[in-house]
Subunit: 417 residues, 2 copies
């Protein structure tokens, strides 16, 4: 029995009015409405399974991404899922290199976010058909098949397919997945919340006061993280963070433009003697950028975003490069459903690639999970490995209906008031 | 009398079916339909002037950019043009840093192209109100006002406003614009077509054969340029171009991913002893990327694109950085209306910034100019400075109507056939 032919793709503009309560606001994004361009694909297979995927957005602009999803959909409609999976690298290349659409990227911006949403749906469907959670689908794959999902274009000077092969196989010592999981859970259970993030960058005196307060509250044994949300120039970042060094933060996150690799390298070099690392990546738009951040030693903590990179395929290439450059991956999460997705990636990374929990952490925000069919499970401040088949990316139908923009009940209320 | 309040913004999806005749195809873009997201803004001022701007696209995806134009339009509708111009930096920042929309960029992809189209229309309108071609508006500005149009965010480690000020004033020795123009024209008149570009990257033996042929045809005194349209990995680029070095090309254009600054630097370093420079920039998405290309000595020829960078504002910052790093600017042109726009930028660059024609050239493709109200004038293979007020960005109404996608006559014919 085949996997079926993709016969339909539906995309919804789902927005949560989080700006009303100022959830998730920071120096650069004062009023986000956490949103998603939510894709559902269906096949003609008798299994009746649907693949659900999305990309995260902040309200306005979701309709732009949706327009890009429609534009890309010609590459998936009527395709046989078997053909996609058997040449996933080729399909990925087709989607990200459309001769006309790549002009408005390439591999960045709305069109890349749209590719992420579509590919996330494909991965979800594949995992559901296999009856496995996505992380297990990845963990169980033989290295050759795993690598065949990755487009190595433009990164072969940092990582070749042959090298990547050695990384995936040398990690096999970690052995049987369930055993590793137990270890993962044991370590997790010992762990209460121990990391605290302070947003900085608006006012130095204010930052000093708040950092002092937090450090006193959490004591010297817990971890303090700083996040500037791209607020500074390069020199400004160095000066500002130097003033905060006495509070011993582990990292400064997003000190400047997400495009400024050399700027981050300068900052990282200046802050290293103070014991402060640089974390970035949530707005790093593709593997070529991550490659350079790693080559230039511009980051100490790599924060992939499951919905900005083009799905599992591109995330895999970044996890493997991080392994080579010995940089811990600490995914960006929060938003809408990012926690649901990244948990699969970090579990895979731990079991099959890095084999280490040292300096690794994954953001968690207790928000909007109720709209997902299989929400994350957190126990003692740790993600519990999901057991349900798929990528945990499926939203509840009622939620999609209610929050659909602008027709949904929630938004109709706003327009009437 | 004020400049008026922006009371309307219209955006059209204008596509030319160039893929039918394979115009403009290359290794990565096999079937482009040269297109534009074309913006017209109107004010309530009695002058009745319209500002016209656009960004260039390749067909599919134009609708995505248009969706982004609509999303951004809230920042310009009902704004007073005087307020925009008197704080152009602030307006630029507002447009490129919308708290929700920046997530799908930031400053890249569809949303940045949309910002370019809108800002191009603002510049066109401003120049028309002043009764000057855009290049003259720029040339006549005092340096302080000129710099007040530029957002220096994220580039101050390479170029501060103070430094930029010295560049714009120290060039005043070039003196009276008309005088310079005469010189420009005199030099231009002596100049027949002397530069020949060969597209490479598909097949090495084929490239060797064609380069040999072209070099024999043009003789040793003319210039041979190579363009790989992002075809290669880093090492591949070095090896391939080394094989073509005997034909003495001046540059290799776009050897690899437009995002790969460090890769370009490696290529540039390897090819320098062969006397071959690296040219890139047509898909370089913002000033932060150009800054790093310059800092890393990753390019020898800087090819700005008037419609990918966010209009004159961002192009100015790049021209000034190029001046500091002593890199000649050779704009990308062709497409739809890119020649019409960039001519203003290179004339300004020559008169007020670089003061040099050495190693400078600007692409020209004789294509689609007939759809513009003030098409470029080429004499003896050189651009003639435009005399009409504005940014030469206005399309003929009939052309917009006829090529409107998908309703226009031209596209209706395709859908019927």
């Amino acid at each position: 029995m085949g996997r079926g032919r993709i016969r339909g793709l539906a995309v919804s503009d789902v927005r949560f009015p989080t700006s009303v309560a100022q959830h998730g606001s920071d120096a650069m994004h004062p009023d986000p409405d956490y949103s998603a361009a939510y894709v559902v694909i269906e096949t003609d297979a008798p299994d009746g399974l649907k693949g659900c995927g999305f990309t995260f957005t902040l309200g306005k602009g979701t309709e732009v991404v949706i327009s890009a999803v429609h534009a890309l959909s010609i590459h998936i409609i009527n395709k046989d899922l078997d053909d996609i999976i058997s040449d996933f690298r080729g399909f990925y290349r087709q989607l990200t290199s459309d001769g006309q659409l790549r002009w408005i990227g390439p591999e960045k911006g709305a069109v890349h976010l749209a590719a992420a949403a579509i590919l996330n749906a494909v991965w979800d469907l594949w995992a559901k058909q296999e009856g496995k959670p996505l992380w297990k689908l990845l963990v169980d794959m033989d290295p050759k098949q795993l690598l065949s999902c990755i487009d190595f274009r433009y990164i072969t000077d940092a990582l070749t397919e042959e090298e990547a092969f050695s990384y995936t196989t040398s990690c096999a010592w970690l052995g049987y997945p369930d055993h590793c999981l137990k270890q993962l859970c044991t370590e997790a259970l010992k762990d209460g919340w121990t990391r605290f993030k302070v947003k900085v960058g608006n006012d130095l005196q204010d930052d000093i006061r708040r950092c002092k307060l937090v450090r006193e509250m959490i004591g010297p044994e817990n971890i303090l993280l700083l996040d500037a949300n791209q607020r500074w120039e390069v020199k400004e970042a160095i000066d500002w963070v130097t003033e905060l060094a006495e509070f011993k933060p582990l990292w400064i996150e997003e000190p400047t433009s997400p495009d400024d690799i050399l700027g981050h390298a300068t900052i990282a070099k200046a802050l290293a003697p103070l014991g402060i690392g640089v974390a970035t990546g949530e707005q790093c738009h593709n593997r070529v950028m991550f490659k350079q951040f790693l080559q230039a030693q511009a980051l100490s903590y790599l924060q992939v975003d499951s919905c900005r990179l083009a799905s599992v395929n591109e995330n895999l290439s970044v996890l493997l490069m991080a392994k080579k450059f010995q940089i811990p991956v600490c995914p960006h999460a929060g938003g809408v459903g990012l926690c649901e997705l990244v948990q699969h990636l970090i579990i895979f990374d731990y079991i099959s690639v890095s084999g280490s929990l040292e300096n690794r952490m994954c953001e968690y925000v207790d928000h909007l999970h109720e709209h997902f069919k299989y929400p994350v499970v957190i126990m003692n401040a740790s993600y519990m490995p999901p057991q349900e088949a798929g990528y945990s990316s499926e939203m509840k139908e009622d939620s999609v209906k209610e929050y659909l923009f602008p027709q949904g009940e929630v938004w109709q209320k706003f327009s009437c008031s």
